[in-house]
Amino acid sequence: MVVYNLYILGKNGQSLFYREWLREQSSNLSRDEEDKLMVGLLFSLSNFAKKMSSSPGTGVFKSFNTSKYKLHYWESPTGIKLVLNTSTDVEPCHDHLSTLYHHIFIQTVVKNPLVPLTEPINSSLFVTKLDAFIKQQTFFQD
């Protein structure tokens, strides 16, 4: 079980944060371009889930996996989007993403007025806590 990388995107698709722990293939795009692609992907998938469900409001995109990775997606009610890519054997980890948001993002980003909510996060405290959190998880292997 391995954690590859994490994206945090803002309410309007802004790039807020990116971190990678293990990545063997780059997309050959700039940070900005890759985030935009990710936002577009998530937007399409969320719409897709909404359109294809047979009961209104129940189709919510949560995760997908390919042959080599699994993408876990969690969105806060305020529109902040968390994307975590892991190896395919990791179970859905929405609880982990929501904990990350509630205990780390809120405590170090929302509660720090020096960090705007619409720009890349520049809080080293956030990064330290995030790293420690991810490394503690059973699905993280050094």
């Binding site: 590859y4 990388n5 990678e20 293990l22 990545r23 063997e24 293939q25 997309s27 890759e34 692609l37 990710m38 577009g40 992907l41 399409s44 998938l45 897709f48 889930a49 909404k50 359109k51 294809m52 469900s53 047979s54 009961s55 209104p56 409001g57 129940t58 189709g59 919510v60 995109f61 949560k62 995760s63 997908f64 996996n65 390919t66 042959s67 080599k68 990775y69 993408l71 890519n85 859905p92």
Partner: protein
């Protein structure tokens, strides 16, 4: 039936086969006075409830009928040439009370074509964004109330199905691989079938349907 929808998408993103057995969402009909207790807006060319869920009328539902007349897009088919824009009618107090029916319309053929092409693009992006080398595109997707699976043949044709949440990845994969066999037998081997064109072959339909039923049976035993 755990398989709600099944599609085949050609390697260039065109929809060449579609099977839709998704349960229709029950519609809700209500007679309402002015002003309406919920908010309507145009979303993707249709009139949708965007906020203000009440009394069985849910966010995301689309307006299907206005006073017994069918609503198509944003206009009601009331006999006039182009139909009358519904939102204008609803804004006028004099037209009340009104009888409105809400629900989720069945996917139109056009919507399916667009869906196929969107999925085709998303599939490609999922490869591009992979942090590991040699990744395929999306194989399985969890959407809360349903799952979505995709099998891409070595030639780039995609076999896609939408199922309920009980279906496992393994069962879906074996189902889709079977569909690929069926496609290869009853479409590709059919001299009257042209590649990348929609499949219209009875034998294909028959074999596909029985394959779908097979997905059911093991579940009924458990």
């Amino acid at each position: 039936m755990p398989v709600d929808r099944f599609f085949i998408v050609s390697k260039s993103g065109g929809l060449i086969y579609s099977y839709d057995n998704a349960a229709a969402c029950p519609s809700v009909e209500q007679t309402l006075g002015f002003p309406l207790p919920f908010e309507l807006d145009v979303v993707d060319g249709k009139i949708e409830v965007v906020y203000g869920e009440q009394d069985g009328i849910k966010t995301g539902q689309v307006l299907l009928n206005y006073n017994e007349h069918e609503v198509s897009g944003t206009v009601v088919r009331d006999g006039s040439q182009t139909g009358t824009p519904v939102l204008t009618l609803l804004a006028d107090k004099a037209n009340y009370p009104v009888n409105l029916r809400f629900g989720l319309p069945k996917m139109s053929s056009n919507e399916k074509i667009i869906m196929a092409s969107t999925f085709h693009t998303v599939f490609a992006f999922s490869c591009q964004l992979s942090p590991m080398t040699g990744s395929s595109g999306i194989k399985a997707m969890d959407c809360g109330s349903f799952k979505f699976f995709c099998f891409q043949s070595p030639t780039g044709t995609k076999f896609i199905c939408q199922t309920d949440t009980r279906v496992t990845d393994e069962r879906a994969e074996s189902f889709l691989e079977k569909c690929y066999e069926i496609y290869s037998d009853y479409a590709l081997k059919n001299p009257f079938y042209s590649l990348e064109m929609p499949i219209r072959a009875d034998l294909f339909d028959i074999h596909l349907k029985s394959s779908i039923e097979l997905v059911d049976r093991p579940l009924m035993r458990s």
